[in-house]
């Protein structure tokens, strides 16, 4: 066979092999930016349901912790949904990044085989947990986004549709199982959320630790330990934020929260706008021609 017919090494390599380095580093990077950065923002915002009362200052006068949390959380959600520019672009970037990170992550995870039974070291457990939390995390994120963002209400016990106008009450109803409070299926959803957020926060903190080795930021063992402490601290903080978000969503009474949110819309936009939003949410036709025409002009 002549040389002309000979295949070079790069011809024989698959797409993954030819671009293995770039794909590996993009996988690592995408876990930090944008996914990790979003996770921090997302959990900080959500945990305001627990601590929002204390951030309201004078505005929260006379409010309970739950009521203040609902108010502050709703203000945050309204800001994101009504004032953050290019929201769809941000969302699509996140979805694409998560899909990229997930698909490559599953592919990479299949190239290894855990052996904690024989080598039960802490680092080795983290190796296996990183992969398990990745798999389960993908399933959880899909459920979370599909139900609360894309409105797949048939997957929500009680069929609650999340609304950014009634962010805390619909969130609490979706997690507790019904707008009236806890149901058995609601407990199952709540446990799913607890497992999902716990695993994902671990995945991020541990991923941040290993990324530093991958990129060559931490080389010496003491440096890896120091960076490990930083990642542990960040992970512990995020875990606290995640658990307090969920704890608040467990404890908020959906009906009381709904009243607080309705009050806010009433105060901000008046009764017609409240009626319009509620009609839209319940799937009713607009109340009358006048309200429809006079609403936003």
């Amino acid at each position: 066979m002549g040389l002309a017919g000979a295949k070079t090494v790069s011809d024989r390599q698959s797409f993954f092999e030819r671009h293995s380095f770039l794909l590996r580093r993009l996988h690592s990077l995408s876990g930090i930016v944008p996914i990790g950065v979003f996770l921090i923002a997302h959990l900080t915002t959500n945990s305001s349901l627990a601590w929002g009362r204390f951030a309201l200052r004078g505005e929260g006068e006379g409010m309970s912790i739950a009521q203040g949390g609902v108010k502050y959380f709703q203000e945050e959600v309204s800001y994101i949904n009504e004032q953050v520019p290019h929201l769809l672009l941000i969302e699509v970037t996140l979805w694409v990044s998560i899909a990229f990170h997930a698909i490559l992550g599953v592919y990479y995870a299949t190239t290894g085989k855990g052996n904690t039974a024989h080598y039960p070291h802490m680092d080795n457990w983290r190796y296996s947990l990183q992969r398990i939390s990745g798999y389960l995390g993908i399933a959880f994120i899909f459920y979370h986004v599909a139900t609360l963002r894309w409105g797949w209400t048939w997957l929500v016990p009680g069929g609650t549709q999340w609304s950014h106008h009634f962010s805390a009450s619909t969130l609490a109803a979706a997690i507790q199982g019904s707008p009236e409070g806890w149901t058995a299926l609601g407990v199952a959803v709540a446990l799913l959320y607890f497992a999902g957020i716990t695993l994902l926060v671990f995945h991020f903190a541990n991923g941040l630790w290993t990324a530093a080795i991958t990129w060559g930021l931490t080389v010496s063992v003491p440096a890896q330990k120091r960076w490990g402490l930083v990642c542990f601290g960040l992970g512990a903080g995020l875990m606290l934020a995640a658990w307090s978000s969920l704890g608040a969503a467990f404890m908020v009474d959906p009906q009381e929260a709904r009243a607080t949110e309705a009050e806010m819309i009433l105060h901000e936009h008046g009764p017609e706008e409240l009626q319009r939003i509620e009609n839209k949410l319940e799937g009713r036709p607009p109340a009358d021609e006048h309200a429809n025409a006079g609403g936003e002009g």
């Binding site: 390599q13 993954f16 092999e17 293995s20 380095f21 590996r24 580093r25 190239t111 290894g112 085989k113 855990g114 052996n115 039974a117 024989h118 080598y119 039960p120 070291h121 680092d123 080795n124 983290r126 190796y127 296996s128 990183q130 630790w209 290993t210 080795i213 991958t214 990129w215 060559g216 930021l217 931490t218 080389v219 010496s220 063992v221 440096a223 890896q224």
Partner: protein
């Protein structure tokens, strides 16, 4: 077999055993047998009267002299590989009670201190078995070729004195130079899996030992001439990025080679190399 595997490797566990070892006892050695490459394995147990300070190899020699199993059945002698018998050649590496180590330095008193205690021997699982406990470690050496684990000298003429080496670099390099290519780091690695197809060796995970050797020679005054080629290899499929940071390698390394630090250092190396190549390369 339920062995306290989690504790097998701890020094305290071994020292405590050694202190209480019963003289004149008989132990049971269970060996995973295999007649040849690709054939199914099975276990055979042997009763062995042991003397103080015996090691696994001397027990295997007793089995070779009298290959009769614990239930009185005649069998073939167990085949194993060994060389130096002082833990510097790496040839006798095998899986003992579920974890990898050299069998020559594995003392019976530390692993089976009481009458009837059992020790299980298996070949390394990441390399093809030639027979019984003897494996073919060719892929390990292929990895060293991939990273050009040598100092290039392109003439037979006298080149004069070598380049000067500073103390700090020497200390780093000395620790890595202790690697004896035994394969422990690969056996314990969850990312390094058995690969029978030789054609796949160049794209499968290269292993911690080779990454450390790339660092050793990149730090050498003359060896660094090949640094770009080594970094190219470590950037490719199966390179340093395939490491999953389970860090088992450094824990099972009998020579204490700074494997995880070398992985970090080469991670830094390929990051810089990639940036340089992006802006300056062809």
């Amino acid at each position: 077999m339920s062995l306290p595997q989690a504790h097998q490797s701890t020094l305290a566990w071994r020292q405590a055993n050694r202190a209480k070892a019963v003289p004149g006892r008989t132990i049971v050695m269970t060996v995973r047998r295999c007649e040849g490459p690709g054939k199914l394995g099975w276990f055979e147990s042997f009763k062995i009267p042991v003397e103080p300070n015996e090691n696994v190899i001397s027990c295997l020699q007793k089995i070779a002299a009298n290959p009769v199993t614990a239930d009185g059945k005649e069998t073939t002698p167990v085949v194993w590989d060994s060389g130096c018998l002082e833990e510097v050649c790496g040839a006798c590496t095998m899986v003992i009670n579920g974890t990898v180590r050299q069998s020559c330095s594995c003392l019976i008193d530390e692993y089976a201190p009481e009458e009837g205690d059992e020790i299980t021997l298996e070949p390394m699982s990441k390399f093809p078995v030639i027979r019984d406990l003897w494996v073919d470690r060719a892929r390990l050496f292929n990895s060293l070729k991939r990273v050009r684990g040598w100092v290039p000298i392109d003439s037979t003429a006298a080149l004069g004195p070598g380049p000067k080496e500073d103390q700090a670099t020497q200390s780093t390099r000395y620790a890595i130079s202790e690697c004896m290519s035994c394969g422990c780091c690969l056996e314990a690695c969850p990312q390094f899996l058995l690969e029978g197809d030789e054609d796949a060796w160049d794209s499968a995970f290269i292993g911690a030992h080779a990454i450390a050797q790339a660092r050793l020679f990149n730090l050498h005054g003359t060896g660094k001439n090949l640094a770009p080629e080594r970094l190219d290899e470590l950037m490719g499929p199966g390179g340093v990025a395939d490491c999953g940071n389970a860090q088992n390698c450094v824990k099972v390394c009998p020579k204490g080679v700074p494997l995880t630090e070398s992985i970090g250092a080469m991670g830094r190396g390929v990051t810089m190399h990639a940036v340089t190549r992006f802006f300056k390369g062809k």
